[in-house]
């Protein structure tokens, strides 16, 4: 909708006062009824005062968010600055309120006295109830002159992008990484090296540190023995978020979650936990090339990059990805967050597993999917039966499937993968 170019226009109040008082005055004179003039006297007075106080300014307003990125359920302040309001008295802003956005005041309508404390503008609260990137704070504003004679606008107030980062559900894992192949880290590796976990007690060799000498063994055996430890290395985790299908109805941060809500929040939680442990995290969205994949990295800045990318995920398939061509670090654990309802998710999972990677499917399908009619419910039941068979085939193929349940979700699976990784196995190439 395009608004007409803003100018100062007479308000309904001025038109009412002016026209009614003019008609009353005319009738009073023509009919000889001065009482009609008395009746319209307040209108005549108001119109006289309001009409002569025509403002000269050309008001403009701009908006700035105090924090361009917040977490789900958090709020920030939007500063609306009004300028060139000579002659203006009251500022009214009607904010647009996109879905999942809450405003303070709740109606989204704010007023300010431009001749008083609010001369510079108004400060509004903007909160977000769901992860994502959306435009907020904009809308239309109007400025009314003194005595409500003239009104500027409604004019458009440009909005701003607010990024809502997913609020990671609490997640913790004590399981060891299956394939620690990096340089430095906290996971005990398979090779001996500098670390804290005992590997063996062996005879002293040139280059061994004296503080590693194991004196009881050395005295008993008569030759110098040292304690050797296993090296500690970091591991890589590739987070694969299935955005091709979204099941369920989202109720925001405090309500029901869709499959994509769960996937994004779970991926955020795992990323935060993994990066805090010093491991490397990569992120890829399954069904579209946007947002762009995040290569493996570590640190707080990388966590912010991962969360930003997760916030930019939108549901729907736009591309035909080729999982076989994806570059995945050797030894990485691939966590696929998916409701496993599309061929794409199945193809990606099985392709990555065939490459010899440790793949874990994190099931994000919500427990309760609201459906309107009996036919849809029946179709959904059939779909679930198909899905159950599919998950069973994945499990038999050695790809563990676990439903997302917060802390400890991946512990058992990762332990099994770690045990399995130390055994010889056949890989199709």
């Amino acid at each position: 909708m395009s608004l007409a170019p803003p100018v100062w226009r007479p308000t309904q109040a001025l038109l009412r006062a002016g026209v009614a008082s003019a008609v009353a005055a005319l009738a009073a004179v023509v009919l000889g009824r001065p009482d009609l003039l008395v009746l319209a006297a307040p209108l005549l007075l108001h119109a006289s005062v309001a009409a002569v106080r025509r403002p000269a300014g050309r008001p403009t307003a701009r908006m700035r968010l105090e924090h361009p990125a917040i977490r789900e359920g958090e709020a920030t302040r939007a500063h609306v600055v009004v300028e060139d309001v000579a002659g203006g008295e009251t500022f009214v802003l009607a904010q647009s309120r996109p879905q999942w956005t809450v405003t303070d005041p709740a109606s989204g309508v704010a007023t300010a006295d431009l001749t008083g404390a609010d001369r510079g503008g108004v400060v509004l609260g903007v909160g977000s109830q769901r992860w994502g990137r959306r435009r907020v704070g904009g809308g239309s504003f109007a400025v009314t002159s003194a005595w409500a004679g003239y009104r500027w606008g409604p004019s458009t107030l440009p909005d701003a992008w607010l990024t809502t980062l997913p609020l990671p559900g609490s997640f913790d894992s004590r399981a060891p990484a299956p394939h620690p192949l990096g340089v430095v880290g906290r996971h005990p590796a398979r090779r001996p090296g500098e670390g804290t976990e005992l590997h063996s007690v062996r005879p002293f060799a040139a280059g061994d540190r004296l503080r590693r000498v194991r004196w009881p063994v050395s005295l008993r055996t008569g030759t110098l023995h040292v304690t050797s430890t296993v090296a500690e290395q970091d591991s890589s985790v590739l987070l694969l978020v299935d955005n091709g299908v979204q099941v369920g109805t989202s109720g925001g941060i405090g309500g029901a979650s869709t499959s994509l809500d769960t996937a994004v929040r779970a991926a955020g939680a795992v990323a935060e936990h993994t990066l805090r442990r010093g491991d490397r995290v990569a992120l890829r969205v399954l069904a579209s090339s946007r947002p762009a994949p995040v290569p493996p990295g570590t640190g707080n800045r990388h966590l912010r990059r991962v969360l930003d990318t997760l916030a930019a995920v939108t549901p729907g398939r736009t591309d035909s990805p080729v999982p076989a061509s994806w570059q995945v670090p050797a030894g990485a654990v691939v966590l696929v967050f998916t409701p496993m309802l599309s061929d794409l998710a199945l193809a990606a999972t099985s392709t990555l597993a065939r490459r010899g990677l440790s793949v874990v499917v994190v099931d994000t399908l919500p427990d309760d999917v609201p459906l309107d009619d009996e036919r849809s419910r029946l179709a959904w039941r059939l779909r679930l039966v198909e899905r159950r068979g599919l998950l069973l085939r994945l499990t038999r193929a050695g790809i563990p499937v676990v439903p997302w349940s917060g802390p400890g979700t991946l512990d058992e699976v990762l332990r099994r993968l770690a045990r399995r990784s130390s055994m010889p196995r056949l890989v199709r190439r």
Binding site: A20, A41, S107, V109
Partner: protein, 178 residues
């Protein structure tokens, strides 16, 4: 609470102001019925409806038609008398007009306290001016000035001057708009 739903609801302040618009309109009709010798139902009935509509749509031209209808009803129902009912009716018209002025705005708007205080002061000023006009008219009526050629001429000059001023102001505003 769903914020999207509350956006279309008027604020409590707006509800009060809208109620004042309707009640003041009905008040003028009631005053005319009490002060008049006959009550023109033909003109009053639309006034009753217009008062409700003006309360629901304060930022439209409905309030103007309501005021015009009230003037018509008063002119037909009440004979020429400068008495207290006339002052009461004029103050009710003032209340109607100010309430409609303040209620205009997007639903949910709440005027700052400083603006409400300022408009309260303005209302008192306008009420004082109205009372002064009523007193002048009462004195003039007591001096039997009404109906003389001098009064008619002065009145016409005043009306023409007001109409010219208003036309010029509104035309300038309209020209800017175009």
């Amino acid at each position: 609470m769903n914020p999207a739903a509350s956006g279309n609801r008027p604020s409590r302040q707006q509800v009060v102001l809208r109620a004042v618009v309707t009640l003041a309109g009905w008040g003028v009709l009631g005053t005319a019925a009490l002060a008049g010798t006959q009550f023109p139902w033909l003109f009053a009935a639309p006034g009753v409806v217009l008062a409700v509509l003006a309360g629901l749509l304060p930022d439209t031209g409905v309030a103007l038609f309501l005021v015009l209808d009230l003037l018509l009803v008063w002119g037909v129902a009440v004979p020429l008398r400068i008495d207290l009912p006339l002052l009461a009716a004029a103050l009710l018209v003032l209340a109607l007009h100010l309430a409609a002025t303040l209620a205009a705005g997007p639903p949910g708007a709440v005027l700052p306290a400083s603006v409400v205080r300022r408009w309260g002061l303005r209302g008192v000023t306008l009420a004082a001016g109205t009372t002064l006009a009523w007193l002048v008219a009462r004195v003039a009526a007591g001096a039997s000035l009404t109906g003389t050629a001098a009064t008619m001429a002065a009145g016409l000059l005043l009306v023409i001057g007001w109409c010219v001023l208003l036309t010029v102001r509104l035309a300038v505003a309209g020209g800017d708009a175009g």
